[in-house]
């Protein structure tokens, strides 16, 4: 087990980015816009499923932003590092295993995902949405980051050019960000769309995050599906890395 240097590398780069105001601002601005526009603007005075829309949407935006931040940074740095700067050759001529690389990268994606979405929670609390009521919120939150960081690694290693990661993001990540119960309940959609959404991990993440945020019971099946998706993606990622240099 030697994933630490891979994790450390990403964290050193992340730390430098954080010190730049522009980076913080650009990660924060989109989710905050959603929060203000939907939570405070559109949703003011509306209640949904018995809670204020703000309290409804904060865990949804938290699911969304932990997903996008875990995914996109990882996917692009890996794709650019592999294809353009060739920095990944350094890992691949070092005696670390594909599992080490996977673990190090995924954990660094998790850190970014948790960081960005915790800012949403803080902003939500300031606007009056309160804090998560059930501790189950935290493992679900973590699991969501683990899933999408794993996707990020897979996308980064499969990309033939770094635009590929953006394509994948536009066709897969962005639709999920809107339809998987982040801004409105999935139940409102037609049956066949609902059926598709049921198989997407973010649907379960936003459901479980919302339930635990509001102090309601979390469906075990959601946790099971998320865990299964994570295990499959992690393993898939390891195999992708193993084959990538050949």
């Amino acid at each position: 087990m030697n994933f630490y240097p891979i994790f450390l590398r990403e964290m050193l780069i992340f730390k430098r980015r954080l010190l730049r105001i522009g980076y913080l601002f650009s990660t924060m601005v989109t989710p905050l816009l959603y929060l203000v526009a939907f939570g405070l603007g559109l949703g003011r005075g509306i209640s949904i499923e018995g809670v204020s829309y703000l309290a409804f949407v904060v865990p949804g935006i938290c699911a969304m932003s932990s997903m996008t931040n875990s995914y996109s940074w990882i996917a692009t740095t890996i794709a650019v590092g592999r294809l353009h700067f060739k920095t990944f050759d350094e890992f691949q001529v070092s005696p670390v295993t594909a599992t080490d690389i996977m673990l190090g990268e995924v954990l660094s994606g998790v850190v970014r995902g948790l960081f960005a979405s915790s800012l949403i929670l803080v902003a939500g609390a300031i606007f009056g949405a309160g804090f998560p009521k059930s501790p189950v919120f935290f493992p679900v939150w973590l699991l969501n980051c683990l899933i999408f960081a794993s996707f990020g690694v897979i996308a980064g290693f499969r990309a033939k050019s770094h635009e590929d990661t953006a394509t994948f993001s536009n066709f897969f990540i962005m639709p999920m960000a809107f339809f998987c119960g982040t801004f409105f309940p999935v139940d409102r959609l037609p049956y066949f769309i609902k059926a598709v959404l049921y198989f997407l991990p973010l649907t379960h993440a936003s459901k479980a995050l919302r339930a635990s945020f509001l102090g309601q019971g979390v469906e075990i099946i959601s946790l099971g599906i998320m865990l299964a998706v994570f295990v499959v993606c992690f393993y898939w990622g390891v195999i992708t890395i193993r084959r990538s240099n050949r």
């Binding site: 030697n2 590398r9 050193l12 780069i13 070092s94 005696p95 050949r246």
Partner: protein, 277 residues
Amino acid sequence: MIITENLTKYFGQIKAVEKLNLHIVKGEIFGLLGPNGAGKTTTVRMLNTLTLPTSGRAEINGLDVVREATKVKRLIGVAPQELNLDRELTGRENLRLHGLLHQMKGIEERIEYLLKWTGLSERADSLVKTYSGGMQRRLLVARSIMHRPGVLFLDEPTVGLDPQVRRQIWDLIRNLKQQGVTVLLTTHYIEEAELLCHRVGILSHGKLIVLGTPPELKAQIGRFVVESLDDGVTNYRLFEGREEAYRFAQTRGDDVVIRESNLEDVFIKLTGERIER
């Protein structure tokens, strides 16, 4: 020790390396020469476990580069042709990460030593993207030997450097020679190969066309060259002895040069092409 047996790599229709047989002994500095696209980098990448051979095999210190790739990775140091340093990190951080990747002990002492050795101490804590090309190249070489590998691959370690920095890198390589490190060096600078390498092999279109010590190879073609300008084209004539060359030169006009032959002449003689860019 590096051994290749019929090592071959095709990229689709392109025959990048064909049936390469090498036997590089411990402590040898071996130079792989050839023009652009000859297959030098592909050979190095197969030996580094980065590229799978299409056929044939290779071993490093008795370990198969495909089947025992992880063990091979512990033995080797690699300075690739591209400057693949982490540009967003400092020089020191680049070296530290390398040490951690190899689970080294005494990382910080080794970093200090290498920074001094490469003359980068003062800039150690600046981001690599602020380094000049020559500084990056030196850091790349330092990183490749950070974990004290017994077998080192340097893919064009001096490409694009000014003569002064090139000499610095040569000194670094000479130091390694004294430490008994086995080095596979690729270059298309003839002078570099003659100066540093015990033996050289010349690749052309993926095939090894000559192999031997620089003096041997030069003796094969003739030790002296007369360059003369005939009708606007430089002609090369090779001679065994100085007198012979001199006599021939006198029969030519003013534009003649007599010089000792070099590996470039060997290559031109064999292929009709030039190696240096």
